[in-house]
Amino acid sequence: MMFLLSENTRKTLTAGLAACLLAPPVAAEEIWITNEKDDTISVIDVATLEVVRTIPTGERPRGITFSHDHKVVYICASDSDTVQVMDPATGEILFDLPSGEDPEQFVLHPDNRHLYIANEDDAITTVVDVVSRTVVAQIDVGIEPEGMAVSPDGRYAITTSETTNMAHWIDTETRELVANTLVDSRPRHAEFAAGGTQLWVSAEIGGTVSIFDVESKAELAKIDFAVKGVHPDRVQPVGFEFDGEEKTAFVALGPSNHVAVVNAETFEVEKYILVGRRVWHMAFNSDKSLLFTTNGVSGDVTVIDVAKREAIKTIKVGRFPWGAALRP
């Protein structure tokens, strides 16, 4: 259905289809995938592992995150220069947030109120109050800000800048930079770990994940990856997530088409799982038994059985799937 029709017809049909599918408000768990080059979201039903809805968005949707109460979903519509706020039940855009230009990724503060947005083209991190719908701060960071993280206690927000090669530490009280930590080339993603005592940063071109001690901001360790039969240049860490107890990290390795399984205590790589082409980001289901990876080039999502550490299914989504988020 989706391939031959014109854009408008398709959108109308999709909306119509979405409306009729929505009629019974089911509480099934879903994974929401942004399709960067289709301007849509593919909604995967976790029970059936099928795409059950396709929702139109603004242009070039990338970062996606739900509010902590899951009542709304925030979408970085990068080429529309806005963050869209959607009602996940209806797929309707409720309103747009001012976001600064070219928002790529963002993170919602534990206060459920402040979004920290990386403005890729402007070397700025924008802080938006989602209640008053206003920009409350803009912080100068390095070139091509991308990865965003917030510490579990809400004290720090992190922006990584891809061309400056730094993790910038933002004090969320003063909204000023308190530290700038040099990492390897092209840092893409950041996450706090070990109960908020560590910061992990992936470097795409550097081919590494660096681990920092939050208190001292000093580097604790650096993880290298080696996928058999793949040239090291093509092993490019991008998104990563931790399992429930933060004992294991799953690291997407981009064009090597593998996800690394890393022991988060010893920092040893324990396994490489073959997934789709140019794997970007990922999301778990609620009990973290399944992991869904977005594969940009192959236009699909790989489902990984977390316990078995095996890929169990590939789900076709839109063109260039990028972000992933759980709707429990």
């Binding site: 390095g142 700038n180 040099l182 080339s185 920092f212 000093a218 580097e219 604790l220 240049d233 790589v269």
Partner: protein, 386 residues
């Protein structure tokens, strides 16, 4: 898996943070542009320079967090002007030079006594001899050599099994050099050049290409692809669709191997493109990219070493730890046997990226990027102590 544990406690984060002030000089020798048949695509006056400016802005943004200050000085030497004198003046303030000049001028500059301890980045001259017999220890190259470009195209042709080729070469020295490189690449990858012709017409092809070119190409032997060596952009644009047999064109025209083009958008390139067009109000070209890469390479070396000393920077740039994120999907680094920046070569048309070399299947024992251009074992460059 390798694990580097926390030496970093004392080193990692703070070592490189120190007040450093760096000046780069962009030195340009203006050259006579030969007349070409069409004036549809004028060469921008600031070609290259805008790339250096963008690189400097990128360095300065990083520098803000590192206690670094960055400056770019620019000298443009007019046609017939004294490049050596301008170079001496530039070298009096800095020994980091980005050079936009032809090969002979680059050699003359590199051989100045004042330049002995300098680091000169050639961002304009594609000549293979500068990376070979005529190499200099103080001369690095961020523009890909002709051989790198023609090897990239040859890999593509071979991967498509379009291995019967014909070629039309212009008469300008740049055309001849590109044609020579193309021939060497075809030989390297075991393909056949069945026939060749030289384009020496002086007719105005805008009016009669459709009459001239079919006849001109009629006696070429059977071929899969028609190669064009027309680096000065003279006649090549009038060949496609006017050939006697329906064959795609490639080389200087049609499918072109480049350092950079506006159609490159993967690997975050879209961001670099938009930063460049914001600055320059025109699309980014290969020489802009080469100048940008030169300035960014210096920036990366200063940031990682915390030093502005040229000898330290040179050692780091040529060493195993240097890598530059160049928006082409692989880390860029310098070949320690001739100072050439390793880089993927996009193969582009006006409208799209067709492929990016090195292509899959072209293997190398150390770095697949070294399947492009002269590799260490066959290098006749002696100035790098190998």
């Amino acid at each position: 898996m390798l694990l580097r544990l926390a030496l970093a406690l004392c080193l990692g984060t703070s070592a490189a943070v120190a007040d450093v002030s760096v000046t780069i000089h962009y030195l340009r020798q203006e050259v006579e542009q030969p007349p070409v048949l069409s004036n549809l695509d004028p060469i921008p006056q600031d070609l290259g320079l805008k790339g250096a400016e963008l690189g400097l802005a990128d360095n300065a943004t990083t520098g803000r967090f590192m206690g670094q200050t960055w400056a770019l000085e620019v000298t443009e030497v007019p046609i017939g002007g004294d490049l050596a004198e301008a170079a001496r003046a530039a070298l009096a303030t800095t020994d980091l030079i980005v050079l936009d000049a032809p090969a002979d001028a680059a050699l003359a500059l590199a051989d100045l006594p004042e330049a002995a301890g300098a680091l000169i980045f050639n961002s304009t001259a594609p000549d293979d001899r500068l990376r070979g017999a005529d190499c200099r220890a103080n001369l690095l190259h961020t523009l890909p050599s002709n051989a790198m470009r023609t090897d990239a195209l040859a890999q593509f042709l071979l991967s498509r099994r379009w291995d019967d080729l014909a070629m039309i070469t212009g008469t300008h020295p740049d055309d001849i050099a590109f044609g020579d490189a193309m021939r060497a690449s075809l030989a390297k990858f075991g393909m056949r050049l069945s026939s060749e012709k030289t384009w020496a017409f002086d007719a105005d092809m805008r009016r009669n290409a459709s009459q001239e070119v079919p006849l001109f190409t009629q006696d070429l032997k059977a071929h899969d692809v028609l190669l064009i060596a027309d680096e000065i952009q003279d006649f090549g644009r009038y060949i496609a669709y006017n050939t006697w047999t329906p064959r795609p064109v490639a080389g200087s025209e049609g499918l072109v191997p480049v350092a950079w083009a506006p159609v490159v958008e993967q690997w975050g390139a879209a961001q670099l493109q938009s930063r460049f067009t914001d600055l320059a109000a025109r699309p980014m070209q290969s020489r802009d990219y080469a100048a940008w890469a030169a300035v960014r390479a210096i920036g990366e070396a200063v940031t990682r070493t915390g030093a502005a000393d040229t000898a330290i920077l040179r050692a780091y740039l040529l060493g195993p730890d240097f890598e530059l994120a160049g928006f082409k999907g692989r880390p860029l680094s310098f070949r320690d046997w001739n100072g050439q920046l390793r880089q993927p070569i996009p193969l582009v048309t006006q409208r799209a990226l067709v492929a990016q070399a090195p292509l899959e299947g072209f293997l190398h024992q150390v770095n697949e990027l070294d399947t492009l251009g002269r590799d260490a074992p066959e290098s006749d460059c002696m100035a790098f102590g190998n």
